[in-house]
Symmetry: C2
Subunit: 93 residues, 2 copies
Amino acid sequence: MASEILVDYRQKALSLLKLDADKILKLIQVQMDNLTMPQCPLYEEVLDTQMFGLSREIDFAVRLGLVDQHEGKKLLDKLERELSALHDAFTKK
Amino acid sequence: MASEILVDYRQKALSLLKLDADKILKLIQVQMDNLTMPQCPLYEEVLDTQMFGLSREIDFAVRLGLVDQHEGKKLLDKLERELSALHDAFTKK
């Protein structure tokens, strides 16, 4: 029973982090669909703020022992690759 | 045993948040001791960034079900009062 609760918190932590990463991706997608230039300082600021917020959440989950460091880094790296692909697709339009 | 783990995570989450609130307070204290003006845009930016980071951590802990919303708000309010007292003490020097 104890390990079930542990697994539940681990899974919940990871799902919440994935959800938040997805929200950032969608936010950036919306910005691009509305033709806000990626060179726009506001775009950079929004992205930086969101990435900082997510990295703080991941860091917190790692410190709590709910997500391991490697897993957290992987999640952030994946989001960065997706954002970069989005950015490339936009600038090539 | 299951409830022990739950209590442990709740306690750990709250201690981590308190630790981070304390870090912000100390950071601001150091800035003031070194006579960086509170009107300085950099000071405002550091403070805003740190407060945003902490509020994201608190929010995450609340969503995980480890900290209740009221408790999270109390922690943030307390830090804001302490920062405000620090700010007042500095500007009255």
